[in-house]
């Protein structure tokens, strides 16, 4: 901990986050409990017909157990998961850029150390996820190539710019908050390596969300200008964050099969509602307002009514026409190319050491003979 101006986030009070963390814990518990159950397979478990393999796969999913890398799985399950996990990994990697933009300009050493740790976490999350995608048989090089040639997407939220320090707070509170709401159900995903990576990631994300909340909380209690800065950041990040949950259920293309395979557990609209409910309450603690004139508590539904984000904008940004798409991709490609000599040097050094060891062994064998 650096400096003494640190306020314990526990005492700041951020309802919602701890309930989500409890869900991560319970997903982890269920994972262990489900593993202890025997899968009912109807006796046709031997190798052979595809139907028997499909039966076994279906039975494992029905029992809420996990599919593991070397298990048989339908081709579309494998393909869909690779696409989803890779996109998720790409998002973590590209997601380092908007916040990385503020590392050198963080307002204090404490804030700088925290932001560095956070951006390093994003890199770590990307690596957990790439590793999970690789267990499905796609190579790391292939995935990196798909990202830097723009053939695979990442979350459109990272195509928005971070204009000032308060944006770092808004990203933590809103963007990481939305990510947690999206990701907590993925801790129960039917594919083992993905579920395990998500449990790890969600536990770490809660630090991210809290640090963002704390930045905004501090600004909101500062000077009038700081307060204005915080409100401005929330105004700009609110709708892009709502759009992170994807198109409305009526237009979502991948949902139904993903639900059946227990990859996805809740619909886009359900998750978005959950996020709005969480934020509406937290905004009042922050003393900042959410830029939605339609936002009001609906007693009947027991939830907040809100205005939908502009989905036309979402699709424009996904297609490549957001404020920073080209910059993000160019930066990623450049960083990858600039790192080529490091990868080459690492390989060359390993080869040299291996050759030396082999030479030494050969000499010893000759001496012994």
């Amino acid at each position: 901990m650096y400096g003494s101006d640190f306020e314990d986030p526990e005492t700041v009070g951020q309802p919602g986050a701890s309930a989500l963390l409890d869900e991560v814990e319970s997903a982890e518990r269920d994972l262990h409990e489900a593993a202890a159950r025997t899968v009912a397979t109807g006796g046709s478990t031997g190798p052979g017909a595809d139907a028997a393999l499909q039966d076994y796969f279906d039975a494992v999913i029905a029992a809420d157990q996990k599919i593991e890398p070397r298990d048989w799985m339908p081709g579309a399950y494998r393909k869909g998961l690779i696409r989803q996990i890779a996109q998720h990994a790409h998002s973590e990697i590209i997601g380092m850029q908007p916040e990385g933009n503020w590392i050198t300009r963080a307002p204090s050493l404490k804030r700088k150390a925290i932001l560095l740790a956070k951006v390093q976490d994003e890199a770590g999350h990307g690596l957990y996820l790439y590793a999970a995608a690789e267990t499905l048989g796609s190579s790391r090089d292939e995935l990196v190539e798909l990202l830097i040639t723009g053939r695979q997407k990442y979350s459109s939220i990272f195509n928005y710019p971070t204009l000032n320090w308060a944006d770092v707070g808004a990203i933590g509170w809103l963007v990481d908050g939305a990510a947690i709401v999206n990701q907590v159900p993925l801790c129960r995903c039917s594919y083992g390596p993905y579920a395990r990576a998500m449990i790890r990631i969600c536990k770490e994300e809660s630090f991210h969300q809290r640090q963002g909340f704390e930045i905004l909380y501090t600004l909101a209690r500062g000077t009038a200008a700081q307060r204005q800065m915080a409100q401005d950041a929330v105004d700009r990040w609110w709708y892009p964050s709502l759009a992170m949950f994807g198109p409305p259920d009526s237009d979502s293309t991948h949902s139904e099969q993903s639900m059946a395979w227990k990859i996805k557990r809740f619909s886009n609209d359900d998750l978005r509602q959950r996020f709005v409910d969480m934020c509406a309450q937290q905004a009042s603690v922050l003393g900042l307002s959410i830029p939605d004139p339609d936002l009001r508590w609906n007693e009947e539904r027991g939830a907040w009514d809100y205005r939908q984000p502009d989905y036309a904008e979402l699709f424009r940004v996904i297609k490549g026409d957001g404020p920073c798409n080209r910059q993000r991709l160019r930066h990623r490609r450049q960083a990858h190319e600039d790192g080529a000599w490091v990868r080459d040097a690492g390989s060359a050094y390993a080869a040299k050491q291996a050759a030396r060891r082999a030479g030494k062994r050969a000499t010893e064998q000759v001496a012994a003979a």
Binding site: G124, S139, R343, G346, A350
Partner: protein, 109 residues
Amino acid sequence: MTSQPTPAEQTPAATGRAQWPLWEVFVRARRGLSHTHAGSLHAPDAVVALRNARDVYTRRQEGVSIWVVPAAAITASSPDEKDAFFEPAADKVYRHPTFYVVPEGVAHL
């Protein structure tokens, strides 16, 4: 055998360079516990693999000891023959203490 090739066996992608080999990472969380599989990573050699494992899997003091193992060096039982492979243990209930009936009044058994 219908199992997937392990990533380490795959051909390098279009970059023209061979990618760094894959390592599996095992972490001992605390003294007294065994090492547990944490995940995997790419590294050119064992020393770098260990360093990367520290940065990727123990940023929050999750471990007191790390093993890294080349993924290609791991031999795994085949999922296709798992029933036959583990079947010999299925009919040996006498290996469990609960198999035996203990008369009333016996202590420390």
